[in-house]
Amino acid sequence: MQLSYKDEEMMLADQARRYLQTEYSFERRRTRQADGGHDPKVWRSFAEFGWLGLAFANDYGGIGLGAVSILALAEEMGRALVLEPFLEAVIEAGTLIETGAAPEHAAALIKPIIAGDSIVLLAHTEADARFHPHHVEASATEKGGSIRLSGRKNRIAHAQIADTFIVSARETGGPRDAQGISLFVVPSDRVTIVNPATPLIDGTWASDLVLDGVDIPVSARIGAAGAAAPILEAARHRAILGMLGMSVGSMTALVEQTGQYLKTREQFGQPLSEFQILRHKLADMAIWTERARSAAWLAANALAGVSNTQHTRRSIAVAKAECAVAGRMVGQTAVQLHGGIGTTEELEVGHYFRSLESMGVRLGDRTYHLAEIAGKLGTT
């Protein structure tokens, strides 16, 4: 059990905070947001700091750090509201490859990721999936040594900058069966990118992808045919962990900024911080943030520890459900305490709020995760 950062994790966080404070100020972020969020120079720095290799095994040239390190770094990224696809292209896609692909295949994919030369994204969600983790209508048909992919992927964030997609497609079964899903590595130039710059609430862009009978070699498959569900789950869990860290970082920043604002701003002849009702709402923000932090550590320990599928699933669901409501309460309250200016795009507050709501929804909203818990009451 680990309940706080160790020295090396603190060092990682300090390094990230220092870099982001100067290089990722709110004004610079605003410029990057206008371009969909990705700045190759920033990404290059991430690579140089070793963050892109943080979680990969040494064998692949990574640093081999675990769940708590991901949490530490993600917290700083959430604090700075980083728009880069760190969770998607490193944590999520990386976990997929490392968990699912054969070592040689994995090495070939991972090394350019670590170097910052390749952006690989999972293309899994489809329009009718809602939050169902196994909803795949896209089809993969094997014929004469090659595989033909057909289907449509929905709302893939950062798709416009990916060079490679890992596409989920169904080889057998019905549209929501866990069995029968496979993952395929597809170069982005084989895919039609629709709506390349559709804005999302967190400030990034998303696109739909169309695979209109794309033929790829069988060797592009990651893992065994039809057996991608557990690989997807492992990647989803680690991506959620990253989101929890980012959420906690964002909430922490909101508590600080809101406290500062209340102390600075005067109304009716005294600082807002003198009004007890506003102080109590600030206290509520702090309480929700501590709850979210507990959720993040709960998830980190579940993913760091001995694998126990039931326990891990429940832990992730509990943590994600908690973070969603905490993020909402903190975001809403921060806006309310800032008053009019909190409802504009000019202040960071609204951006944090939108980003928190985004993380509350992505990979399953609170209702979805509570239903996961409810479905297993009494089984742990």
Binding site: H135, D202, F268, E345, E346
Partner: protein
């Protein structure tokens, strides 16, 4: 004042069917479909949308129901006016900005000069002139009376310097009615004067403020030695606070927005009724249905609270905090609606609808925009914290 000017039927005996049908049929037959669609999905409306609908209502004589007939209003009771607003909202008509018809009009009718009424009322009624409201100032927050924009009398003119903020649709407006400070020696509520000014006067500039949802509705307005003829002052110099306040206390039909809430509930039902791949609707999910049930109960409670408040005020039985209670209940209900819309949309809530460009097809396209934007409801018009201050004062009678 306005609310009581022609309320013969204070008993709230119910709207007769003929009136209801006439309004409903007129709206259904005359509301342009493109505007209705925007309203249905909470897409932003532009000036042209508002003006088109205003002119259609004007052609029917319904552009300013609360005004006396002599100025182009109606002889409707308070109850009928309320019903009119609600029926319009339920039938997808946009809520027209109220700065001219709802706010300045009544002020001019009760406090303006004949000349002012003749000059301004007809163009408000016809939508030829668009007004905005210059009350809030940077740094004032809920402390409205602390305003600092100065007006200095020079001969037949006032010279205005300062700025206003959160000015809704200032970028559409031809004119502004504004509170300015002509004297800073007394209490902060004193020395305030109510002026009508031309937005095209030299020295007026408008800075757009982009909302949390990316849309441009409010603005900051700067005055650099803007000259306003003294005849465009409403009331006496230094009595602007009383002029503004007389209105604030009486215009209550617009707080609850029950028809709007019902319309949103219809959208929520529609979004939740989409069949998924397994043939199920979100509406049939027991957990979601329970949330919808609680929300529909909330809307009904809001509706009855609204009726009770209006009846109490019409019969002079209010204790003074009714509008505050109503505002809290209404905005909390509305915000709860936006949250449930956001949830119903699922992953589609991740999309941030563009502020302009072609209208998206999906019913849920604007749910996140609406959710984020509507946080303002508990901030503007006296934050809900201020409303609770008022309510507690009434309970404690201090």
């Amino acid at each position: 004042m306005v609310a009581e000017s022609n309320t013969e039927d204070k008993g709230f005996g119910g709207i007769d069917q003929a009136f209801h049908d006439e309004v409903a049929q007129f709206v259904s037959a005359n509301l342009p479909a493109d505007i209705a669609r925007k309203v249905d999905i909470n897409a932003p409306l532009n000036k042209d949308d508002y003006v088109r609908w205003h002119k259609i209502l004007h052609s029917k004589g319904w552009a300013a129901p609360s005004w006396p007939v002599e100025y182009g209003g109606t002889d409707w009771s308070l109850e009928q006016r309320l019903a009119f607003e609600e029926i319009c909202a339920e039938h997808s008509a946009p809520r027209l900005p109220q700065f001219g018809v709802g706010m300045l009009g009544p002020i001019l009718i009760s406090r303006g000069t004949d000349e002012q009424r003749k000059r301004y009322l007809p163009k408000i009624l016809s939508a030829e002139e668009w007004w905005c409201q210059g009350y809030s100032e940077p740094g004032a927050g809920s402390d409205l009376a602390s305003l600092k924009t100065r007006a200095v009398r020079e001969g037949d003119e006032y010279v205005v310097t300062g700025s206003k903020i959160w000015t809704t649709y200032a970028h559409y407006a031809d004119r502004m009615f504004a509170l300015v400070r002509t004297d800073s020696s007394g209490r902060k509520q004193q020395g305030i004067t109510f002026l009508l000014l031309d937005m095209r006067s030299p020295g007026v500039s408008v800075r757009p403020i982009t909302g949390i949802n990316g849309q441009h509705v409010v603005n900051e307005v700067f005055f650099d030695n803007v000259r306003v003829p003294a005849k465009d002052r409403v009331g006496e110099e230094g009595e602007g606070w009383a002029v503004a306040k007389a209105l604030l206390g009486h215009e209550r039909t617009g707080i609850a927005r029950v028809g709007f809430c019902k319309k949103q509930f219809a959208l929520l039902t529609q979004i939740s009724s989409r069949l998924d791949i397994t043939g199920k609707r979100l509406l049939d999910d027991p957990v979601f249905a329970q949330k919808l049930a609680a929300l529909s109960a909330d809307i009904e409670i809001l509706e009855w609270t609204n009726l009770r408040v209006l009846e109490a005020v019409a019969n002079n039985r209010g204790n003074g905090s009714e509008a505050s209670v109503l505002k809290v209940i209404a905005t909390e209900t509305q915000q709860r609606i936006t949250e449930l819309l956001f949830e119903a949309a699922g992953p589609a809530s991740l999309d941030l609808a563009a502020a302009d460009g072609p209208l998206p097809e999906e019913d849920s396209a604007y749910v996140s925009s609406f959710y984020f934007d509507w946080r303002k409801a508990s901030i503007y018009g006296g934050s809900n914290e201020i409303q609770r201050n008022i309510i507690s004062k009434t309970v404690l009678k201090d």
